[in-house]
């Protein structure tokens, strides 16, 4: 009996706050996260192992078996050149995921740096940055990217840079407002009284506190990036044929949709949808865990 109470008072000094469980454990308790992460993981596996996972060569044409509907041999049917749609969908995850990831990463890193500078330093940087954000917001994302690619010429690197640059001001705006909240905190005054320089305050004091916001922004933008890339591919400015790509495959095949060849369009479209939904589910759960 006594051993329960015998714990000296000093043992309870550590307040048992909400942070008792680490964030990733809280995430794993959410069904939405589990479902979203599972779908995402599936596509990542496809992107990494691509050809190893695909039952057939996604590039192999079979002119004897064109336009076949879904069957045991071709689960998602074949396209106009007789290529296996299922294999093309699995392998097509690679290009879109790689481009989306790196484009969003570029946008997040650049946007966070710009947002920190705008929010913490203020002044001219904030004014110029603010106008830049407004300018980008006023233009439709795909059109901007489209114009840029026409000017520079399509390549994977171009798409990454274009989408990254388009995201930069958007992410900067969100990070800036989070930094403005932090600026009100007294720990920044304390840092100034310790004679810390501006870059130390921005990157060591402020940045860790806005990282949750950055993380959420990254996942939100990843979903948008998937859409943007698929749209660019659809318009013919993304991944070039014959590399399997969802947007490009829809673009090539939607013309025969009225003829009843729905599978060539539907399955790549479902792939895009599932990926975007998965990312949104993950984003939602991360946001909720951070807010709780």
């Amino acid at each position: 009996m006594t051993d329960v109470v015998a714990a000296p008072a000093a043992e309870v000094t550590v307040a048992r706050g909400r942070g008792a469980l680490p964030a990733w454990r809280l995430l794993l308790r959410r069904p939405t996260f589990i479902v979203g992460a599972a779908i995402l993981l599936f596509w990542v596996v496809c992107a990494v192992f691509g050809h190893l996972v695909a039952p057939q060569d996604p590039l192999a044409q079979s002119l004897l078996a064109t336009n076949k509907g879904p069957s045991a041999a071709h689960w998602f049917g074949t396209d106009q050149l007789g290529r296996d749609v299922f294999s093309r969908v699995l392998v097509g995850a690679r290009s879109i995921l790689v481009i989306a990831f790196f484009a969003t990463l570029l946008g997040t890193v650049a946007g966070t740096a710009l947002g920190l500078a705008m929010g913490y330093l203020g002044g001219v940087i904030d004014i110029v940055g603010g106008r830049l954000v407004e300018a980008v917001l006023a233009l439709p994302l795909v059109i901007v990217a489209f114009l840029f690619i026409v000017a520079v010429g399509p390549s994977t690197l171009t798409v990454i840079i274009v989408i990254g640059l388009v995201f930069t001001p958007l992410i900067a705006r969100t990070v800036r407002s989070a930094v403005l909240v932090e600026r009100q905190q007294d720990y920044l005054a304390s840092a100034r009284l310790l004679g810390e320089n501006r870059s130390y305050i921005m990157f060591i004091e402020v940045l860790p506190n806005v990282l949750p916001v950055v993380l959420v922004e990254f996942t939100v933008r990843l979903g948008y990036a998937i859409f943007a890339i698929a749209s660019l591919s659809f318009l013919g400015f993304g991944v070039q044929p014959p590399t399997p790509d969802w947007g490009a495959d829809i673009s090539v095949n939607y013309g025969v949709l009225p003829a009843g060849y729905w599978w060539m369009t539907l399955f790549p479209a479902l792939a895009i949808a599932s990926l975007v939904v998965a990312i949104n589910l993950v984003t939602d759960s991360i946001e909720q865990v951070i807010a709780s």
Partner: protein, 686 residues
């Protein structure tokens, strides 16, 4: 009215208590586990009685209020016991009856008046709505609302009714909320920390109002507060709540004069009393911490922290012993409680004689004007001050008086106006901290009010405390580690705290980390900006003791800002009273408190309720501090001054800050002799 008559009036008569709570138990379900928030709480409030519920944060005070009106959060439920309001059981009510109960029988007033009013609806509309719910038609409801606002002493109700909540001050908003609460003529009025967000002068007005209205309306009051003095002033009976249990209850005066539970005794000893000072009469503290929520202590909840606890206290929960008429105490040793051994640290030796002329910092003509949309706000107007080595200068005044601006200008966090001079050891300091060399930065540090904001929540305690050691003291390696451990020990933290982050520490421990950081560089002056006002009283006492110890050891100068005059008096050697950016009075602490004082100081002192209820409440300030954007002419205080001279000199000319006694300066047109007479006569009259 005779007993038979009242009995005939129905079930709700003068004999039925307004509120009866029996063995109330509330549990919260957190992460799939039930945590008990309240256990076996029983009390009752008679007709027209005022009952105070006092306790520290986490004691479950607000949970009681929420349970009474069934406003518990979704994961909370009443898991045992009985509640009866006017003989009715809210726990058994359906939705319609519950709505009726909340609309007519019970009213609540919360801490933040700003949050209780709808920001997009005019004040008059919101008050009138209460009457419309009660069945009055539009214009009658408007008239009633206007009359009600006049009852809560709003002098111009017609105008106020047309305003939106953001256009009225906090004190005014709380009056409006009280008006709305009383409009339904409730039998029970629940006030949950109603004045905690308000300035002391405004608090005093609101408390006076509540006391007066209680007589008129005949409502019973449940008054919830962490402030013992407020409870002592307002309540007939009091219950002391700790970790969800009612440890002691009884008539307020008896409980505070002759506490019979070790927790109550300890709590009362934590508060600086009149005459208690940092060098003699250290504050008692309650060691240890509140048991964590959901604890399963089989015995007395206070036993782990109780100096007189014995084996049986830890094994079996003490029943409520009757210790007098209508008094009870849940302690086996209620007879010995008042002789509780003290836990105060030994007295400290302050430097016996300070050299009078050794100012560390001198402020000359310190002014600060903020510009807001073309309007200039004069937050500080030509302040002259000097701080001596090893002394504590207390800075008091209402919010908006310029205390924090003064501190921030001294530290270089805001640049004062041109012409302001801040000297450290006779050489001028740069206006901005950024431009000050390391030696100057080192000299001036601060402890902020809110450690949650002052400590970077992503950094570990080790990093937080080490940083000034490397940045300011220039230490590294083994010498840094050695000094770090010294510092950690001197603020009474432990080595295991070093790897934690602020969110894993309690409020008091966080403030210790902030103090350690401020002392890390070996400062000459530490600004303490309300360092204890976010803390519970038992923690506050420990922090005040710590600050006194550190001062004695390091010979550091404090600029101590607080709205709590008891705390300021305990720690300060000299006091500066600020009003609208000007010094009204400056002098040795005891002189300023003993009087004769400046009328503003007098008003501040009158506003503070005291536990023993001894202090004469002489004068009250009307209204709130005027806007610094448009300060009054002449003496800035004349608009609210209760002792304004009839000659009109106060309105036209600004009195200089003149020495009225050695070291005692005052800015008032009334000659000191006359002030002495005025203030003494009224004291005698009480």
């Amino acid at each position: 009215m005779t007993a038979t008559e009242t009995a005939a009036a129905g079930s709700v008569d003068d004999l039925t208590p307004t509120l009866q709570v029996e063995h109330l138990e509330v549990t919260h379900r957190v992460r799939g586990q039930d945590r008990r928030a309240l256990r076996d709480v029983s009390f009752q409030i008679g007709r027209r009685e005022s009952y105070g519920l006092v306790g520290e944060s986490g004691s479950g005070k607000s949970t009681v209020a929420l349970a009474l009106t069934r406003y518990l959060p979704r994961n909370g439920r009443v898991s045992g016991g009985r509640i009866s309001i006017n003989g009715q059981d809210p726990l058994a009510m359906d939705a319609a009856a519950l709505r009726e109960l909340r609309a007519r029988t019970v009213s609540m007033v919360y801490q933040e008046p700003g949050k209780a009013l709808n920001p997009s609806i005019r004040v008059g509309r919101q008050v009138a709505e209460v009457y419309e719910v009660a069945g009055f038609d539009g214009s009658a409801a408007q008239d009633k609302a206007e009359a009600m606002l006049r009852t809560v002493q709003i002098s111009d109700p017609g105008r106020v009714m047309g305003l939106y909540p953001h256009q009225i001050s906090g004190g005014m908003a709380q009056r409006v909320v009280i008006a709305m609460a009383l409009a339904a003529e409730p039998s029970l009025l629940i006030l949950d920390e109603p004045t905690t967000a308000l300035d002391a002068t405004v608090e005093a007005e609101v408390l006076d109002l509540v006391a007066a209205l209680r007589e008129d309306f005949g409502a019973s009051v449940l008054f919830i507060s962490h402030n013992l003095a407020v409870i002592a002033k307002m309540c007939d009976r009091v219950g002391v709540l700790y970790a969800g249990e009612l440890l002691e209850e009884g008539p307020a005066e008896q409980v505070f004069q002759e506490p019979r539970h070790p927790y109550t005794v300890g709590l009362l000893r934590c508060i600086p009393r009149r005459g208690q000072r940092k060098d003699a009469g250290r504050l008692d503290t309650i060691p240890g911490f509140l048991p964590p929520p959901g604890h399963t202590l089989p015995g007395c909840v206070f036993a782990p922290r109780c100096p007189i606890a014995e084996e049986r206290c830890r094994e079996a929960r003490p029943p409520a012993f009757p210790v007098g008429p209508a008094r009870s105490s849940r302690c086996y040793f209620h007879d010995a409680a008042s002789d509780l051994p003290t836990n105060a640290p030994p007295d400290i030796q302050l430097p016996a004689t300070r050299d009078a002329a050794e100012p560390v910092v001198t402020l000359q003509h310190l002014s600060k004007t903020f510009t807001h949309g073309g309007e200039s706000v004069r937050a500080l107007v030509g302040v002259n001050l000097s701080l001596e080595r090893g002394e504590t200068l207390g800075l008091v005044g209402e919010s908006g008086s310029g205390k924090t601006t003064l501190a921030r200008a001294l530290l270089g966090l805001i640049a004062p106006d041109e012409g302001s001079v801040v000297d450290l050891d006779g050489s001028a300091l740069a206006a901005q901290a950024r431009r000050r060399p390391r030696e100057q930065l080192k000299a001036l540090q601060i402890v902020f009010q809110n450690p949650d904001s002052a400590l970077n929540r992503r950094h570990t305690v080790r990093r937080l405390i080490s940083r000034p050691l490397s940045r300011l003291a220039g230490l590294s390696g083994a010498r840094l580690q050695e000094r770090l451990m010294d510092l950690v020990r001197s603020v009474r933290l432990e080595e295991r705290h070093l790897s934690l982050r602020p969110s894993q520490l309690s409020g008091g421990l966080k403030q210790r980390v902030a103090i350690a950081r401020a002392f890390g560089g070996g400062p000459r002056i530490v600004v303490c900006d309300e360092p204890t006002s976010a803390l519970d009283v038992s923690v506050q006492a420990a922090i005040l003791n710590l600050l006194a110890d550190l001062q004695a050891k390091e010979q550091v100068t404090y600029m101590f800002i607080s709205h709590d005059l008891g705390v300021v008096r305990y720690l300060s050697d000299r006091i500066a009273v600020l009003y609208l950016g000007k010094i009204m009075e400056l002098g040795p602490a005891e002189t300023v408190f003993a009087g004769p004082h400046h009328p503003y100081t007098e008003a501040l002192l009158s506003a503070v309720p005291s536990i023993d209820g001894q202090r004469a409440e002489r004068i009250r300030l009307q209204g709130e501090i005027p806007s610094a954007a448009d300060p009054p002419s002449g003496c800035v205080f004349h608009t609210r001054c209760p002792r304004r001279l009839p000659t009109g000199v106060c309105e036209t000319s600004d009195p200089p800050l003149a020495e009225v006694a050695p070291g005692h300066l005052m800015s008032c047109h009334i000659p000191i002799d006359q002030l002495t007479i005025l203030q003494r006569t009224e004291q005698d009259g009480d």
